[in-house]
């Protein structure tokens, strides 16, 4: 019970915080991803410690260390069995119903402990919980490390894909793409880059400046010229905002146009992204639900068009709408390859990666209502 209790309470705590963070900016899918990763880590660590404990239980007769076991073998066994039952079993109505009384029963148990048994029980519990916490924190540190080093790991694969005399097209600015191209340049591959400026943020200019500083032949083109130039391009490499469970990509606005043009000209369309961008959700109506509309001032100067905002003409409804979306959705059939820190993948493989990183329980991050 302490195990279940410990993991469950951890999960609840993380869920509560995660729900708030996700609600703060639902469009920023990476937040939800990391929350779910942590939840998955907790479950996994719990599972693995339970498994080892069960194995340890089988050997406990011969086991010399672990005085908790010797002291309270019966209690440990019962506890372990219960924990095993709940963690190792697939979620079902019974387990769900069992969980509640378990956590409800746990506090009385712990509070009743006052004698030596209780002390040792709590000691055992705290050591176990410490072990779980320790494991979880270790795993999370690894996760942080992974996220920090994702660029290096992705860039290592650059030489496999960029050869000599290549022409590469990208739109806007992605740090992953930049590191990717740097790495290829380090390995003395010769290639040219067409950078589409990526209105209305014009981050393409920034990227071009950085590439030029590194000595890469860069040409800046307008977004409208993408179709015109793509016939001379060998490969399109872009970054992503998020990769959805079906292999679709949520990317900065304009990249869907590039993907369509690339498909028409049979140019490989490569998406580079760290695995923290992998989102276990399936996109439904992503253009609307996973999008953010920004201020029209990027497109139009209010001063020039203030006279067009006359509301009187059509009975109060404005004649002029300005649309400035931030993201674009790219269906999986347009993507040739995903390059993540775990290697290169087909869009059809994304579901498998998601099964590795996430648990099915965590798809909806909602703080559990206490009974």
């Amino acid at each position: 019970m302490p195990y279940t209790n410990q993991a469950a309470s951890l999960i609840d705590a993380v869920r509560a915080v995660g729900e708030q963070m996700i609600a703060a900016n639902p469009v920023e899918l990476a937040v939800g991803n990391i929350v779910r990763r942590v939840l998955h880590i907790i479950r996994e660590e719990d599972l693995s410690s339970t498994t080892t404990a069960i194995e340890g239980l089988g050997l406990s007769d011969d086991d010399v260390d672990g005085d908790e076991n010797e002291d309270h073998p019966a209690l440990s066994a019962a506890v372990l069995a219960a924990a095993a039952r709940s963690t190792l079993r697939a979620p079902s109505l019974q387990t769900l119903l069992e969980d509640i009384p378990v956590s409800a029963a746990a506090p009385p148990n712990s509070s009743s402990g006052g004698d030596s048994e209780g002390r040792s029980k709590s000691a055992e519990k705290s050591s176990r919980s410490r072990k779980l916490k320790h494991d979880v924190i270790e795993a999370m540190n690894e996760l942080i490390q992974d996220i920090d080093t994702c660029h290096e790991q992705i860039s290592e694969q650059a030489v496999e894909h960029i050869h000599q005399n290549e022409v590469i097209l990208t739109l806007g600015r992605s740090r992953t793409v930049k590191e990717f191209l740097y790495a290829a340049k380090e390995k003395k591959r010769s290639f040219r880059v067409f950078v589409a400026e990526g209105a209305p943020r014009y981050q393409g200019h920034v990227l071009a400046k950085e590439l030029v500083a590194k000595g890469l032949q860069t040409t800046v083109i307008t977004d409208s010229a993408v179709f015109a130039m793509i016939s001379r391009v060998n490969m399109v490499i872009v970054g992503a905002h998020a990769i959805m469970a079906n292999g679709g990509v949520v990317a900065p606005v304009g990249i869907n146009m590039v993907a369509l043009a690339a498909q028409k000209h049979a140019v490989p369309f490569v998406v580079v992204a760290g695995s923290h961008k992998l989102c276990p959700l399936y996109p439904h109506n992503p253009e609307v639900l996973l999008n953010e509309l920004k201020s029209p001032s990027d497109l139009l100067d209010f001063g020039e068009f203030s006279d067009c905002m006359d509301f009187g003409i059509q009975g109060g409804s404005p004649l002029l709408h300005v649309v400035n979306p931030t993201f674009d959705y790219i269906p999986p059939k347009l993507v040739s390859l995903f390059i993540t820190d775990t290697g290169g993948h087909n869009p059809s493989y994304i579901y498998r990666l998601i099964a590795d990183y996430y648990s099915a329980d965590d798809l909806v991050v909602q703080g559990k209502s206490t009974s």
Binding site: P200, Y202, H205, S224, F227, A228, N256, M257, C308, L320
Partner: protein, 644 residues
């Protein structure tokens, strides 16, 4: 070989005649010049226009070739010009506009005697004396094209002569002439040369170059040469990229006979660029950091030419002031848009013709043609011609060439002026009206119409539909660097249309709501591709992927025989500096510091090519056509247009 073929006088059964056609008047049986034996007799292709009571009859081909008449439609030559905007016409000098299709004076750069009208020495090419049947001294031709590789020098020109005569005679009548193989080949070459040379936005600086060179041989040399003489030592900054002469580009003699379209000015050949520069009126300095891919197109520094030209305003005597003015307006971007540029140019020519007086001892036709050519090359230097302008120039030269010798100067001038007025009226103004009516039929209530950039015809159509009371919304997609959509947005909102405005990256987002896409075009090429403002291809592609119909509104005079596969082969490059600077956003100056870095190139494409599979329908003044019908229109009706 020709003995096998019997002149066909049978009506092609495949062509159904929907409209009543007056039977063709049998051609007077004079010995026909070698005709291009290439296709079945052209029949009037009935294109049913809806019930529009216009003076414009359906353009049926007349087989009758009458030097004076050529009544294609029933337009009254003296019909007043309807509402032509009083723009100074940029006399774009279309040296590219090789007026081969008729006996028009050949552009000097191919080495013909400018405007010289000599009876063609081509065997069997007697018959009607085309105004400009030129005798091309072979030597001339070989040295001629400095800048243009003219395939099949003498043969081409000879063939062109023949072609011109053949065309001049009024197209394929009901009889086929037997032609020798060589003649046919020559004719084909000439045809191709004519057509390819006719229009190129790619900039035909060769005009100036060849002008100076070739006209040395002709009497009219002086008129044209003065501009080049006036030019001070060219302020030449050595071309940034050394261009080795591409062997493949220069067609060897043996390729003359092959089916090669006429190449235009090759800007990647250093010798030609040098020669062109020497004769140019406008000082062009090469742009730094030229994009490799576009070495074959001119890339110049912008901003240096205008002040230079302004200073020279009072020194360029041979150049008519209205032409000069229009050139300056082109250079500064005051006049833009296919129709506007064309009309402005034609009006400037009209004024120039008005003020023209034939120098003594010179033939009006030749001299005037040479003058027009000089104007055109000046305009090319200001800004490369659009295809519509090229066609208009071809028309004008044709008309000049067709002037009967018996006409007095005054009559000739007034006839030309009325021709110009008629062209503008019929081909542009009336054509726009017809297109608007057709397109209006395609709009339903509740539609969401998307348009890209700013097209004059589409704008007229939207306003008309709104005035007729149709309920619809408009989505305007715009892009950098020109941001033409903002002006359109302004005008439409002022008229009370419900508009949505966005930038081209968001077209995937907005396409979900759109029911129809209306686009304009700078030209439509013979393989059905649409040559228009850069970004049109992206919009059409996204619309196609969302299954939204794409309708192109384009006047028929903008059609061209050229074909093009992608946007790189020929294009126009604008000022690269506007890419680095984003207007209205002072904070975005990331690139301002490293513009001089040799690794950085800025590319400002003006046009792009939309493949025909993305286009659902083309709306022209001849009706609504699929993209595959464009070469048909070009073949059937272009001939007529030149006869006007």
């Amino acid at each position: 070989m020709d003995h096998r073929r019997v002149p066909r006088a049978v009506i092609d059964p495949k062509v159904r005649q929907v409209l009543v056609v007056t039977p063709p008047i049998p051609r007077p049986s004079h010995p026909r010049p070698a005709r291009l034996r290439r296709r079945p007799p052209l029949r009037p292709i009935p294109v049913p226009t809806p019930t529009l009571t216009l003076t414009l009859t359906s353009p049926l081909r007349r087989r009758r070739r009458d030097a004076a008449l050529v009544p294609v439609g029933s337009y009254n030559p003296s019909e007043p010009l309807l509402g032509t905007p009083p723009m100074t016409s940029p006399s774009s000098r279309a040296d590219a506009d090789l007026n081969f299709s008729d006996d028009a004076p050949s552009p000097p750069w191919i080495g013909r005697t400018g405007g010289g009208k000599v009876a063609s020495s081509f065997p069997g090419s007697s018959g009607e004396m085309m105004a400009a049947a030129k005798n091309l001294p072979k030597s001339d031709l070989t040295t001629a094209s400095v800048v243009k590789t003219l395939p099949g020098v003498s043969e081409t020109n000879k063939g062109a002569l023949v072609e011109m005569q053949a065309d001049g005679i009024g197209a394929t009548g009901s009889q086929k002439q037997k032609t020798t193989k060589a003649e046919r080949r020559a004719i084909q070459e000439a045809q191709r040369a004519a057509k390819a040379a006719a229009k190129e936005a790619g900039g035909v600086k060769s005009a100036a170059a060849s002008t100076g060179e070739v006209l040395a041989a002709s009497k009219q040399a002086k008129a044209v040469k003065s501009p080049s003489q006036k030019k001070d030592g060219p302020q030449v900054t050595a071309p940034v990229s050394s261009s080795e002469k591409k062997v493949g580009d220069r067609l060897p003699e043996k390729d003359r006979k092959k089916d090669v379209p006429h190449p235009r000015m090759q800007f990647d050949d250093i010798n030609r660029v040098e020669k062109a520069k020497r004769r140019a009126v406008v000082n062009q300095s090469e742009a730094r950091n030229r994009v490799e891919l576009f070495r074959h197109l001119p890339q110049y520094e912008h901003g240096t030419q205008l002040p230079d030209l302004e200073a020279k305003f009072f020194h360029l005597d041979p150049l008519h002031p209205s032409v000069y003015k229009v050139g300056l307006q082109y250079l500064s971007g005051d006049i833009h848009g296919g129709n506007a540029r064309c009309i402005a140019m034609l009006l400037a020519f009209r004024e120039a013709i008005n003020d023209y007086s034939t120098p003594p001892k010179k033939s009006l036709v030749r001299d005037l043609t040479a003058k027009v050519s000089s104007y055109v090359s000046f305009l090319i230097e200001c800004r490369p011609l659009s295809i519509s302008m090229g066609n208009a120039i071809r028309f004008l030269k044709n008309r000049i060439a067709k002037l009967p010798h018996t006409m007095s100067e005054l009559e000739a001038k007034s006839s030309l002026q009325s021709d110009i007025d008629r062209f503008i009226n019929e081909k542009i103004v009336l054509a726009d009206k017809i297109i608007v009516r057709h397109a209006f039929a395609k709009i339903r209530d509740g539609d969401v119409l998307l348009t890209y950039g700013s097209s004059s015809v589409v704008e007229m159509m939207l306003v008309y539909a709104h005035e007729q009371g149709k309920q619809f919304r408009v989505v305007i997609v715009d892009s950098r660097p020109k941001l033409e959509g903002q002006a359109l947005l302004h005008r439409l909102v002022k008229k009370g249309l419900n508009c949505t405005y966005t930038h081209i990256n968001a077209v995937s987002y907005i396409m979900h709501e759109v029911t129809r896409v209306f686009l304009g075009a700078s030209s439509i090429l013979s393989n059905g591709t649409v040559y228009s403002r850069v970004g049109t291809a992206c919009v059409a592609m996204v619309a196609h992927s969302f299954r939204v119909p794409v309708l192109i509104c384009c006047e028929a005079y903008k059609f061209h025989e050229r074909v093009q596969l992608d946007s790189i082969c020929s294009n126009e490059l604008g000022d690269p500096d506007v890419i680095a600077k984003v207007s209205g956003r002072k904070d975005l100056n990331h690139l301002s510091n490293c513009v001089d870095n040799e690794n950085l190139q800025l590319l400002n494409l003006m046009y792009d090519v939309t493949p025909s599979d993305y286009v659902s329908m083309i709306i022209t003044d001849y009706g609504m056509l699929p993209p595959t019908s464009v070469p048909v229109i070009v073949r059937e009706y272009r001939r007529e247009q030149l006869w006007i």
